[in-house]
């Protein structure tokens, strides 16, 4: 499978939530706030990924966990994880170590 270079470069990086006390489980969703007060509601998949952004799991680990937890094929899992990770990073909610 051909992957964009930026994905290859990032696959061993470990995403880390940047702030403390800025998110909470609300039923099956996770709600996250930025420091400026913008709220982001994460769906089940995004919430699963968000919870693994602890600085310990690499992006590769997160992909593996998503495959195991949700019975999805690797290609879909990779797309989902990168889309969500980049979106969270763009919003400055996580950093990549």
């Amino acid at each position: 499978m051909s992957k964009p270079i930026s994905r290859e470069d990032s696959v061993n990086k470990r995403p880390l939530r940047l702030y403390k006390r800025n998110w909470i489980d609300v039923n099956e969703e996770v709600a996250v706030t930025s420091l400026s007060g913008e709220t982001f509601w994460l769906n089940e998949t995004a919430a699963f990924i968000w919870k693994l952004c602890d600085g310990k799991h690499s992006i590769k680990d997160i992909v593996d966990s998503l495959i195991e937890g949700y019975d999805v094929d690797r290609s879909t899992a990779i797309d989902d994880v990168f889309e969500i990770i980049w979106s969270l990073e763009e919003r400055k909610l996580i950093g990549l170590q």
Partner: protein, 436 residues
């Protein structure tokens, strides 16, 4: 002598409202200094989101002293970064801080940050002028009233308090020519901000305004306010004015005269902040007629017990009525609530939600309680059943919980914020559909 005044950016907030408008306070200090022949520059880092890194150096060629606004608690990390960056380049550059946070935390700041030299306490205009005299060797630092500094032994010295400006009209107009006004206009960052009064007679336990500006409200004359509006309209072609006073309608009679004069002389839209107990149908109608398009009310809670505990001196009913009247007149109404005030519990949160869904303000601001230095709450949180979780000032933005109440954990408070916001958005959407 040349002084550079700096308005810092927030440290961590990556997006959202970078600037809250031209730093009118700094521009007023600048005007006082310029009138005495001192050269002044103003650098508004907040406008462009310019942040100084931990190991960065900052050079200001030709500058003899730097004054940094340290009003906003959550911006303090940037104040520290800027001060440090200046000293890295020039260890002899006097670094002066001023504003609410610096005033109320002056001892801690001077003890902990050796790259901060002097702190101006409370209102800064004429204190800064005297300071420039001291820095030029014309007088002793110890003779400048209203400052704190470290002496040669490293001990923090606080001089006698400076007098507040009794007659605001003696202050010159803010030196807006030193600000990039075109950028505030282009970015729609409140370019028409004006302050027409100082002080607040109330002592709400979560607010430091009256501790900073005093309990007596001082006003600019109506003539002076009109002159400032005229200057913004004619020089900068600004059509929207925002009055940044804490309680713009505090004096009913002054207000009525001012609104009549605005209506007679200008074709502008304006907005302001006030209290729910300082408006009525007649006043609001006059405000609307003169161009008032937006009003901000600090409702803070829909629980009377909480309002009383916080010494807000307003009733839930007054809030309900004020919002209703304002909306009926077609004035955009923005209402703020503070979640986590003393006595907050699941029932009071429910009261807030019910009130919000009943009144449906045009804009809702849900703040989590921040115990700002200088407030009664910060001095004695235990008395109010508040537990402070964090004194990392970067988190003092109202978005992330930094306190808990006896009944509600930080998780409860954060969840309440999310759920109220979600319910409000749904209700507002339905309300808008029904009012097309």
């Amino acid at each position: 002598m040349k002084v550079t005044l700096i308005n810092p950016s927030s440290s961590l907030v990556p997006s959202g409202p970078v600037s809250t408008g031209p730093p009118v306070g700094l521009a007023t200090i600048a005007a006082v200094l310029e009138n005495q022949g001192i050269k002044v520059d103003i650098t508004d880092m907040a406008l462009f989101g310019r942040k100084i890194g931990d190991n960065e150096k900052l050079s200001l060629p030709g500058t003899d002293a730097v004054g940094i606004s340290a009003s906003m608690t959550s911006f303090f990390h940037q104040v520290v970064a800027i001060s440090k960056a200046l000293k890295q380049t020039d260890k002899d550059m006097p670094v002066i801080l001023g504003g609410n946070h610096a005033t109320f935390m002056h001892k801690e700041i001077l003890r902990n940050y050796n790259f901060v030299d002097i702190i101006v306490l409370f209102e800064g205009e004429y204190v800064m002028l005297e300071l420039t005299e001291a820095l030029s060797g014309k007088k002793k630092l110890a003779d400048v009233k209203g400052i704190a500094y470290r002496n040669k032994d490293g001990k923090v010295v606080v001089t006698d308090p400076a007098e507040k400006v009794k007659d605001l009209d003696i202050l010159p107009m803010p030196a807006r020519h030193l600000l990039p006004m075109e950028h505030y206009i282009e970015k729609k960052c409140w370019p028409g901000s004006i302050v027409t009064s100082r002080g607040c007679p109330y002592k709400c336990i979560f607010c430091s305004t009256s501790a900073f500006f005093g309990h007596k409200v001082r006003f600019h004359s109506i003539g002076r306010v009109l002159q400032e509006i005229r200057s913004l309209v004619e020089k900068h072609h600004i059509k929207q004015i925002h009055f940044n006073d804490d309680i713009f309608t505090f004096s009913r009679s002054r207000g009525i005269k001012l609104y009549e004069m605005i209506e007679k002389n200008f074709d502008i839209e304006w907005g302001c902040q006030t209290r729910v107990d300082h408006v009525d149908a007649d006043l609001l109608s006059k405000m609307r007629k003169s161009g008032c398009g937006g009003l901000f009310f600090g409702m803070e809670s829909a629980s009377q017990v909480i309002l009383d505990k916080c010494e807000k001196h307003q009733t839930v009913e007054q809030g309900r009525r004020a919002i209703k009247l304002t909306k009926e007149l077609g004035i955009n109404v923005e209402v703020s609530f503070i979640l986590g005030l003393p006595g907050e519990n699941h029932e009071t949160i429910k009261n807030d939600l019910d009130f919000i869904l009943e009144t449906i303000p045009d804009r809702l601001i849900l703040n989590l309680l921040v115990p700002y230095p200088g407030t009664i709450l910060y001095e004695n949180p235990q008395k109010f059943g508040i537990r402070i979780l964090d004194e990392d000032w970067q988190y003092y933005t109202h978005a992330i919980p930094v306190t808990e109440t006896r009944d509600l954990s930080w998780k409860d408070l954060l969840k309440a914020r999310f759920l109220i916001e979600r319910e409000y958005c749904k209700a507002k959407e339905n309300y808008s559909k029904g009012h097309v």
